[in-house]
Subunit: 410 residues, 2 copies
């Protein structure tokens, strides 16, 4: 008798963003003339940079000719891309990472879930609250949690509250944990952790033989020169951290699909008998057995992100979205809304006026102002009373959205 994975039955309804899409679709169908502006899902709007497009076109052309056609590539990614990543994203920032520690993938949404394959079920997992739902849902699916609680948490996970009171920089846990998800710059709060805070986490992990799962998908948005872009800028991190990066939000690859994970060769974990094992070897085994590499034209495009033209075009893209974020921030502040984030991240984290619940604010904003954002409670119990706006849209839509927001809260 084929048995399902019962852990899936613990999941609360569906993944957050399809639920939002459903509500928006329902409203749009009932109000076909509403000019809905979407600042919800955090999807880029501007086209791929020319240098990347050119590289992809060239690579597709190569696939059309026998002499340059490529079949199966190395599952970890082509050397030309891994070397560019190691050089530009790490060594240029003084981080000791080598090309063979880079694992190219089709997304950090995939990686942050799949990484759990190599860890035992007995690990105690800590997540920030609010949190990117994938970190939580994938642990529920893996069987590491109990049931959902009325507060929107799951028994068995350790939650690290990120609130106004601690400036969205979580305190160390007061119980031992083994795997710690840290997202910085943070989705959804937009706050980036300081060097000092990250040093605290690396030291904690070293003392407790824990592993940090560091999601730096938004590092390109950091404007504060003191904020680390990589966990490996912190001394000692190579022995306790895995880092996730993505081309989605800097190069605009949400529909093109490329990302990578760094697994230092110095990282180890314990087996049941206490023996130490190399995490890089385990991830290599997982990656080469359950994955078959990223599309060659896509890797060629990602590599072009590191050319001088590519880097320049990406800087312009990121600057454009950061200007959107800045406009939203100042506009909302002028309207009397308390805002966070939007300085080192493409997300604004605002406090709902009058203590309105996140979903009530979502529904009111959608129906009255025809704007879509993401209710903070969708990211966890500490997100209740907050609301996320993404800076990914045209300048015209951002300005229009701001006008509507100002009117709406006025």
């Amino acid at each position: 008798m084929a048995r399902i994975n019962d852990s899936y039955l613990k999941l609360k309804a569906g993944y957050l963003f399809p639920e939002i899409a459903r509500r928006v679709r329902t409203f749009a169908e009932a109000h076909p003339n509403a000019a809905i502006i979407r600042l919800g899902i955090g999807d880029v709007t501007e086209p791929l940079p020319p240098a990347i497009v050119e590289a992809m076109q060239r690579a597709v052309g190569e696939m059309s000719r026998r002499e340059s056609f490529r079949g199966y590539g190395p599952e970890q990614g082509y050397d030309f891309l891994r070397e560019a990543i190691a050089e530009h994203d790490f060594r240029a920032r003084g981080c000791d990472i080598s090309a063979d520690e880079v694992f190219v993938s089709d997304g950090s949404k995939c990686d942050t879930g799949n990484i759990l394959d190599i860890f035992g079920i007995e690990n105690r997992v800590a997540v920030q609250d609010p949190v990117y739902p994938v970190y939580v849902d994938t642990n529920v699916m893996a069987g590491r949690t109990g049931a959902a609680t009325p507060e929107g948490r799951y028994a068995g996970l350790v939650y690290l509250p990120c609130t106004e009171a601690n400036q969205f920089s979580p305190a160390l846990p007061d119980e031992p944990v083994d795997l710690i998800y840290l997202c910085s710059p943070n989705n959804p709060t937009g706050t980036a952790l300081t060097k000092s805070a990250l040093q605290g986490w690396v030291d904690y992990a070293r003392r407790n033989d824990a592993i940090i799962l560091f999601d730096a998908a938004y590092e390109a948005y950091i404007t504060d020169a003191e904020i680390p872009h990589s966990i490996y800028e912190i001394p000692g991190a190579r022995d306790v951290a895995i880092e996730f990066r993505s081309f989605s939000k800097n190069a605009g690859f949400t529909g093109t699909r490329c990302a990578y994970t760094i697994v230092p060769k110095t990282l180890t974990g314990a087996a049941a008998d206490g023996g130490r094992h190399n995490i890089h070897a385990l991830w290599t085994r997982r990656h080469t057995t359950k994955f078959n590499g990223v599309s060659y034209p896509v890797q060629a495009g990602a590599a072009a992100a590191y050319s001088p033209e590519g880097r320049q075009q990406i800087r312009e893209l990121v600057r454009f979205y950061l200007e959107n974020a800045s406009l939203l921030r100042s506009g909302l502040e002028r309207a009397g809304i308390q805002v966070f984030g939007g300085v080192n991240a493409p997300y604004i984290w605002l406090k709902t006026p009058g203590g309105q619940s996140s979903w009530d604010f979502f529904d009111a904003l959608l129906t009255q102002a025809h704007l879509v954002g993401t209710p903070g409670s969708g990211f966890g119990s500490c997100g209740e009373g907050y609301f996320r706006l993404s800076a990914f849209n045209s300048r015209q839509n951002i300005e229009e959205a701001l006008a509507r927001l100002t009117k709406f809260v006025g």
Copy 2:
């Protein structure tokens, strides 16, 4: 203390193909003048068909302009592709499959491993022997097996021998099983299961509430009109089978990466409390939580496989490789080698002369004839004494390989 997944420690060394690549690399470095012909890994050699290239170029161009740029797509794939698949690959063959039962992915290597996420650990899993190593290794990683045995098996899996004696069509298991991997046309034996045999499996699954994981990655190679291309040609299959398909070996997408999985909405599995649950809903949850869709230009290319030009060009590609297989078959038979497969599949399964072990034959063929194949024992204990050659290469290389093989066995 971060704990690894101890199940990984049960894995025998590395995945098969990186091991072969290592031996070949070692030989090539020591003998740089050897003109090694690779008939091992089963990687296509001919370029992408023009209709597909054109569609991909057009799609990359769309990504360069704001008005046609695409960000996140539906994780299950774009409707234009899902509908083409349902229409051409299923309804046109009389199979009742709808577009919303199609889940587009980046590879059936990925899918056949990831599908295990939604099934409980207590399932008894059956695999053919010999078998595509991914089905076995991913179950070891998931914790469904005991230790490796000296015969090259794992305690806890049920093996279905495929030998000369049963014409490589396995008998039903003599103990209850819950999940059954069937690959037809088969990798590595090249044998395709008859309608009657498949009906037997569907009936078995219906009687035992088991689920068939049907890998039809090579269905485009079927030349015998009586052989089913899809499990859904068998009455009753919708309630007991998941099917995996790929664009790798028909459209040449090994380096481009696109595939799909069919999960009928009528498929159910049991929870621990005996309740029935919809497998389609579980896979939707997994796919939308742990995956973010296939690259848009790649999906556009895959959809072009269903245009009249695309279908014609793919037929020519497949015919080319089948002619290679036919040449290898007849040439080997003339040389006195017993061969199987190569009629409904791009793989030749030959019996090693003189009862030589598979790996000895591999080493001898590599060092003396500078040819690479895949040792049958790498696919399981019933593969010992057999050897797999793939038909994926230039006509010139196939003819040269045949000449060397003839000389080698002579």
